[in-house]
């Protein structure tokens, strides 16, 4: 996957049409039955959010491989999806597990270096690149479980309840993690004591 993709390889299956309007749960039912078209729509809907989550959680360098791992896991484990469950937390749970496993294997120091490198190579589309560097570095310093909560909460619009379902934790535990993480970030970014 790490090889460069040519323009012709960047083909995405078109998903316009009535399928695109279907809710996740209906698409998931069809996908679980092996419907490739339903998978295409789910992929189009979630590939970018999952990729963004993994970029922020595990670093840009690993995001492509981890996104692939996430969607392969989704295909392989669809027999375990419980009908009626929400798709988004289930999919982000897979991504979070893949990201955690990657970070565990790679080691925290290496990850911190990668995050700083990512930050330096970030596109300069923000008004103050140094502020972004600070925020990215602060995010990278968070313990993995807290960073997962913050990224899902702040950037992917999941509620504490949904994050709890995704991470297999209680909502109370997720709230505590979120408060701790926001407190650390507030200290690092604003000069408070952590």
């Amino acid at each position: 996957l790490s090889r460069k993709h040519s323009a012709t390889e960047r083909r995405i299956y078109p998903v316009e049409g009535p399928d695109e309007q279907q809710p996740d749960e209906m698409l998931m039912d069809r996908f679980c039955e092996g419907d490739v078209r339903a998978f295409d729509v789910l992929f189009a809907r979630y590939a970018r959010p999952v990729h963004e989550f993994l970029s922020r959680f595990a670093g840009r360098g690993a995001a492509d491989d981890l996104t692939q791992t996430t969607f392969l896991s989704m295909v392989r484990a669809r027999g375990r999806f419980r009908r009626g469950d929400a798709v988004k937390p289930w999919l982000f749970a897979i991504a979070a597990n893949a990201g955690r496993d990657h970070l565990r294997r790679r080691g925290r120091d290496d990850r911190a270096r990668g995050a700083e490198r990512d930050a330096r190579s970030a596109p300069a589309a923000v008004p103050d690149p140094s502020a972004e560097l600070d925020v990215r570095a602060a995010l990278a310093r968070l313990p993995d479980p807290e960073r997962a909560v913050i990224v899902l909460h702040r950037f992917h619009d999941l509620t504490f309840e949904e994050i709890a379902a995704a991470l297999g934790k209680s909502a109370v535990a997720v709230r505590v993690r979120a408060f701790r993480a926001y407190r650390r970030l507030r200290a690092w970014l604003g000069g408070d004591r952590p």
Binding site: Q68, V75, D128, G168, G190
Partner: protein, 256 residues
């Protein structure tokens, strides 16, 4: 977390209207600082990283086309439990040169303890492979099986079994050997799940039941001082070693 007022985080979490958030922020210094941090993170939201390559879609699509039928979770559970049962059956036959059942406890007690072991096997297979967190069932099922084995002990220690340590280590070794194949099967199946220590412990306990069942039927020593350290302790050792092995093996699928 001593963080002062955190109401704004709850307001944001439940997507309260902006006016409500503003109203709270006006009168709460704590929350204004929380809110600033929350907003500061927004500087990362704008430059979204490039999207995933289409090759990712192609690969996942190809996997789906190659395997259009989903594997139901119970198939893995049945396979793992079946492997443990098959090894237990073969094990009893292998060591049964002097008789299949050497346990001298009453037949009803032997049957009840065996039933408790089979129930524990079913529960551990369910806890290890069913979707959702079911590990809470593992400990009571394992404890009930252990209690049943101790309660069904005949109390006998025949002379021909040999000295305490020699006989005990023979049992422990047999149990570990009979656990290897079911553990290997369970390990291969569990690689399709994200690592979870409770799941791995459940699967390890399930794998260890093969050896435990063989010893329950074939071991003639029925004292608690033998069953505890040489039947039950190796069972726990198998579960712990299994969990460590699962932690070290690569994962094929990261779904729970």
């Amino acid at each position: 977390v001593s963080a002062g007022c955190t109401a704004v985080l709850d307001l944001l979490d439940r997507r309260a209207p902006e006016a409500e958030v503003e109203l709270h922020l006006r009168g709460c210094a704590d929350c204004r600082r929380w809110y600033e941090t929350h907003r500061a993170l927004g500087s990362l939201a704008a430059p979204a990283p490039p999207g995933p390559a289409a090759a990712i879609h192609e690969r996942a699509r190809a996997e789906l086309i190659a395997h259009p039928r989903a594997t139901p979770w119970w198939r893995d559970a049945l396979f793992a439990a079946g492997a443990a049962l098959a090894v237990a059956a073969v094990g009893v036959l292998m060591v049964g040169g002097h008789g299949l059942v050497l346990n001298s406890a009453p037949a009803v007690a032997i049957a009840l303890a065996a039933a408790a072991l089979l129930a524990a096997l079913a529960v551990t297979a369910y806890a290890a492979f069913a979707p959702g967190p079911h590990a809470l069932w593992t400990a009571p099922a394992a404890a009930a099986a252990a209690a049943a084995l101790l309660a069904a002990g005949s109390g006998a220690y025949p002379d021909w079994c040999g000295p305490y340590w020699e006989a005990g280590l023979r049992c422990a070794r047999s149990e570990l050997v009979f656990s290897i194949l079911p553990a290997a099967v369970a390990l291969a199946l569990l690689r399709r799940f994200a690592f979870s220590a409770p799941r791995a412990l459940a699967a390890g306990l399930g794998a260890g039941i093969a050896g435990l069942l063989v010893l329950h039927l074939h071991c003639a020593i029925g004292t608690a001082s033998h069953i505890g350290p040489f039947h039950l302790l190796p069972w726990l050792v198998v579960a712990v070693l299994f969990t460590a092995a699962r932690r070290l093996t690569p994962t094929l699928s990261f779904a729970r």
